[in-house]
Amino acid sequence: MTTFRLVLRELRERKSQLVTSFVAIALGITVIVAVRTMSHFSEKAVAQELDNLGANVLILPKGATVTNYYTADFGEYVMPESYIDDITTSQLQGVDNLSPKLTEAISLNGQRVYLTGILPKNEFKSKPAWQTADGIFARPEGCGTVVPGAVAKALGGSAQGGGSAAGARQVVVQELGGAEVMIGNDVASRFGLKVGSTLPIKGESFTVKSVLPSTGTVDDTRVFAHLHTVQRLFGRGQVVNAIEMIGCCKEISKGLIDGLNRLLPEAKVVTIKQIAQTQLSTNTMMERFSVIFLVIILLVGAVSIANYMLANVYERRKEIGTLLALGATRRRISSVFFMKSGLLGLVGGLAGYGLGTILAVGLGPRIAGVPVLPLPALAGWATLLAVAVSIIASALPVAKAARLDPAEILREG
């Protein structure tokens, strides 16, 4: 005989009384696991969508508007390129990437086309659609990851080449030299251009180093050259007329924009609010949903377990009295009941994890509209939570059991 065996024997004998508590804790954990699993994949999907959209903060010259930005017609509105340095060397949290741009209208075969000066690496980091499958331009993961090193490197314009296909791609974009351009997909098809073609801009000859994949955005109708080349061609000096920024959504809500406004008083900082708020509201909703559910469900489970344990202690009064008379200590009596409730939590937690995962995987695509996969890490948390709730809920009944007066019980006969 061991405490574990004693508990098992009692559980096996009184299965029917256990069912309500087991179902309460298992269902509680089921709902928590299902909501957490679905919200995890839903958040991931939203983040992915935002990722595909690119920048969510625009820094524009003071007088410029978002319309100027979308029409690429900035007129004389410019701001210093040094703003990039100001941001990267500041203490601001939540800046993922900065893409400075200087856009000017040019004429190509008599047609008006926009030439945009970019810092190639930064541009690729902000445009997932431009990124190659091998991920050499993959954006850093997670919010608030400032990558001043990458920015500084790109600003310096140095890069190394390589022999592989990935290396070749890296060479093209990082070594986008003074006489090289990348062209949007529409521009390529409209003017019959391909890699190696030459095109004249402002009296100079440029070679097409790359045709960009189609993005379905205005980028498809643009010609991209190095920022410093565009500045030179138009005699603009070290200026830009837009800085696209990827800011972490949570940091945006925590004051990143205010920080930028204070840092750059001569610029206009615009958030793409709807995008940011979509993710924020989705995340907040899911978080609140989970917390409210968690609290209610845990309470229901805890009350059910406490109730069951109280009834169990009452029912086993004679047994407890006998054990105390035989020489059991109060600690021993407590350990028997705590082990029982812990076991109940363990099995309920595991069952809840299994059911919750099945529910999430099955219903996730319909409810959240995203594919949902099992999250094994939740198994540990779900079980721990169930065991903790079970044990805490049992504390009072167990204390009652340990304090029972054996003499009083034995006199009852």
Binding site: M1, T2, E13, K318, L326, G327, A407, L410, R411
Partner: protein, 227 residues
Amino acid sequence: MIKAENITKRYQRREGPVLALDGVSMEIAEGEFVSIMGPSGCGKSTLLLTLGCLIRPTEGKVWLDGRSVYDLNHEEAAALRLKTIGFVFQTFNLVPYLTALENVQLPLYLSGLPPARQRTRAEELLDQVGLGDRLSHKPSELSVGQQQRVALARTLANEPRLILADEPTGNLDPALAEEMLDHLEGLHQEGVTVVMVTHDPLLAARAERQLRLVEGRVSATEAVTTR
């Protein structure tokens, strides 16, 4: 072995205070067989449980082997019950979901014996009371007499030096009652101290010494009887 000095026990009941024991003093020597007799409600069971470290008296002291048992802490009192005292209950108090073997293993488990040794010892004990072939039967699958023997085997598991029996024959037919008395007498002959509470004068007369309890007081102590 046992010395009780002026023990008084009062209970608070809704209808008012109840005096269960009223200044009881007694001594029981090692190896004695003593019966405590008296009408229902006279305080017999309270006295027995007080001697067994289960009811703290309102006043007075109880010594067991020279130790004042109500000056012990909870753990020490539990250890004393585990090692020294064996209770025989009128209703056997077997744990219903455990087998006969597991019921007998309980005191051995409480004293920390490894499961394999618990099993061997419990099998021996059940064999001694003639239940070697009923090891895996639950109490509900055993006759009253068999349940009584399982309870006795459990009482003897840790080889107690003091047996406190509360109406041990109360639920038994005459044949089984006689069998129980034989067991208690056998233990007494082996040197175990036996204190038996009963309301049956014939059974009480089987003890070496009889104490009569009336309204919480020892009204008479009869001399050693001849058997």
